[in-house]
Symmetry: C2
């Protein structure tokens, strides 16, 4: 298990590379105030939106519905969140919801993300392996300066992580063996699924992804190939 084996690093994005909670809450605060609510509810709004993320993808993974890109699932989930927050959907223009849905396209990277990716790009192919769709990843990269070699992930694979097909198809598109691809994530479950498919694994903790009271994924919980403090530390461990 040496770095020399690796040809590509693929990355989880929401939470691992960007601060989805802070970014969504920032835009939700403006939205909530516009509709007579308090900006204090913005974190809860972001959490409620994100809480519907896995169940929505599970309906695709289970075969209950065909593959839909994440922007579509986010938009459906947003309508449910409005309802949960007692906001009358009929009084919100569709264009305003469409724009709020794009908050996910405008998330900011963590402070170490761009430097870490830039270092890793000097030796490896780097690409997102996210459940976010291609356009979402393109917009986010242009917003935050993420220097991708390619945009991979759920929409290219037509499968959502942690389904094995999602990992296998990304490896196939890269024309590499699984052991030549390293999955980088702040989530142990993502790495466990990647490892089952034969990929290398690297964990970096993001202890504030869910806010100050986070209780999950505070540390590596599997036998991962690399564990690093952040993305710059991972790059150093990989010799770049």
């Amino acid at each position: 298990m040496t770095r020399a084996d690796i040809k590509a690093c693929v990355f989880d994005v929401f939470g691992t590379l960007v601060d989805w909670r802070g970014g969504v809450a920032r835009e939700a605060a403006v939205f909530l105030q516009r509709h007579g609510r308090s900006a204090q509810e913005a974190d809860a709004f972001a959490d409620a939106w994100r809480a519907r993320y896995q169940p929505a993808m599970e309906r695709v993974r289970s075969g209950e519905r065909p593959f839909m890109r994440l922007d579509v699932l986010h938009r459906e989930n947003l309508e449910e969140v409005l309802s949960a927050f007692g906001i009358n959907r009929a009084q919100v223009p569709a264009g305003e919801l469409d724009d709020l849905n794009l908050a996910w396209h405008r998330l900011d990277p963590w402070p170490d993300t761009v430097e870490g990716l830039t270092r890793l790009k000097s030796r490896f192919i780097i690409a997102p392996h996210s459940n976010g769709n291609v356009k979402l990843m393109i917009d986010m990269a242009k917003h935050g300066g993420l220097p991708w070699d390619a945009i991979l992930g759920a929409e290219v694979a037509q499968a959502y992580k942690p389904a094995p097909e999602a990992y296998r198809r990304v490896v196939d598109v890269l024309m590499l063996s699984p052991a030549e691809v390293c999955m980088v994530a702040a989530h142990n479950s993502d790495l466990a699924a990647a490892q089952m498919c034969g990929l290398r694994t690297a964990f970096i903790p993001r202890p504030h992804e869910h806010g100050a009271a986070q209780t999950t994924d505070l540390k590596a919980e599997g036998n991962w190939d690399w564990v690093a403090r952040d993305l710059v530390d991972l790059a150093k461990q990989l010799g770049v």
Copy 2:
């Protein structure tokens, strides 16, 4: 028809952005000499290989066989070229052919390509819309410094240009309307197919793509939205 309408520029690659003939001939010359042949045959070798490109894709477009990535078609075509050149396939190690097949991954950009793409990237999403597969495009971009926002094209669309699905699926992945996407190519037939699908079109001539005696695509032959001398000129016309 103003530049303000456009959100993305997608590019033909072989011939439009990179010199496939010079790059393939350079590696073919070494191969030919290793097998007791003259480097003088290298241009003809490159032309013979490229001549099998459209017929091979046509078997996919017609439905005669399922979608295969271009690396597979190139590899099959290479075996035919060996035969046409009277080289005994049995005496060439497979690994040597695999490596020669990667000549397509190592093509050099034309002198204006990187500057033109870099300028265009400052305002637009830029992505290859090539019949080359994703890994081929990634390797070529790393080799030549092409600053893509994403890698699109045949493998993502699972369809080869000029099939309409190839253009439609790329527009769909970008979540744009066809008129917000500009197809850039040195080939009038590519632009004609893109225009039929509602895309904007930009022509740049590459009069030496096929060598000094080239007779095709020397000038714009359709009602394209933009006609430029090269990619830097196109960027200027588009205001960047």
